[in-house]
Subunit: 258 residues, 2 copies
């Protein structure tokens, strides 16, 4: 008999998980979500049941709680999993102990950003697992390995570091893109022209992450003339200017340490 | 008869140009570079002549000066192009007027980073052209269009903006990657796990640059609890902490403006 997995939540991570599970040997048993429209839409899309309240969730072998960080504890407290069922959450910055100690509990953290309207290849999403006991870890690993090529263990401390690293490598990077695009838009240049540069910079970092990333540009060259001109250009935007100063200084100092 | 192009310089942009020209209907006539080892290596690789001094460069139809910003003026002053030949430089932050007014002059700015050891598909590199006269612009465009799908005009002001946008979208982004990797390396986690997240974040920005980029993460959610924990984690690194504060604040404030 196939093992059943219930997803609690109807956000973008929940949706991605439903899709990944549908392509595995596990059965997507139920989507449980307070937001009925979104929950039913997911359940219909993947041909499984729907329920609104975790207190009435159907029996399953694995429950994945993928809701807002603050709601994890409350959702878990309503859940009545059958004996031996595993309950995990998917949050980077929430400890496993947010789940009741009476559960076979764990964490199932996907290191990826799941923005609206983007199709994610779940097979390539690194999954970081934590579990209460070696037995639960073994079962979680077997499950995770069907969804992704990249599965590893990570305790709460490591997971917090992964989440912080992701904030720099994704959220903050995204903000740098947004600033670059804004600078172009102000003068009527289509920001699309940054695409190849953005992709090349990312591909370079993804291809050789172990090596110190080779930095280019005026800051690492110590090109005072260009930097002075760029500062002048940002002079009407104090917040961008201070970012420019701090990051340029950091790039210069990092390069001296190599 | 094929039109001849001479490359002055032996750096990474020069090397990429040699390769792109070799695949075009233009003839790569000569590589001219003070660094003899690198210059000869390029000339041999692409089967053209070599000279050390621009004063003795063979006649060509187009000269592309791809040397350090500070050296452009001096290199150009030694050059004796035949009448009607075009002379351009490739620098983002140098005015066209760095070249002698007696030349048919222009700028040929590739908006891409050319790091050591990475293979660039020149066809996808956006090229921004400036020229003294419409006639020179037409000839430059005909040439550039053989090398890249993306060719546009840009005056010195627009080019400076492009260069500044590239600093944020590439150099500063690169620094964010480096910080993320460092955070992982400190705790023995292979930074390679950030690869899929980095690629997805870039692909999203490159795919929909015109739209306001959809930000994710604790800063845009106003997730005070996670942010407080992340601040504590950075408390021993004041420079990273101040970056964290400034960028998070910016992300939050930008999201309010949408």
């Amino acid at each position: 008999m196939r093992l059943g997995v219930t997803i609690i939540g109807s956000g973008r991570v929940a949706g991605s998980l439903c899709e990944a599970i549908s392509g595995s040997s596990y059965e997507l048993r139920e989507v449980c979500a307070r937001n009925e429209a979104r929950g039913r839409a997911l359940a219909d899309a993947f041909g499984c049941g729907y329920c609104a309240d975790p207190a009435y969730a159907a029996d399953a072998d694995i429950y994945i709680i993928s809701v807002k960080d603050d709601a994890i504890g409350e959702v878990a407290s309503r859940l009545k999993p059958p004996k031996g069922a595993i309950v995990v959450h998917t949050a980077g910055s929430v400890a496993m102990s947010a789940l009741p100690g009476s559960f076979c509990r764990g964490v199932f953290y996907p290191l990826q950003s799941f923005p609206e309207g983007r199709k994610i290849n779940f097979r390539e999403v690194p999954l970081f697992l934590e579990a209460d006991t070696p037995e639960v870890m073994a079962r979680l690993k077997a499950f995770a390995s069907e969804l992704s090529y990249s599965v590893a263990e990570a305790g709460s401390e490591e997971r917090a570091r992964l989440h912080l690293a992701a904030v720099f490598a994704s959220n903050f990077t995204n903000h740098m893109y947004a600033i670059g695009e804004e600078i172009l838009r102000e003068s009527g240049i289509d920001p699309k022209v940054l695409g190849p540069l953005i992709m090349e910079t990312a591909a370079k970092a993804a291809a050789a992450p172990a090596a110190r990333i080779v930095q280019t540009g005026p800051a690492v060259r110590g090109d005072a003339k260009t930097m002075e001109a760029q500062r002048r250009r940002l002079s009407s935007r104090p917040e961008l200017l201070s970012l420019y100063e701090i990051i340029s200084k950091e790039i210069w100092e990092t390069s001296k340490k190599i």
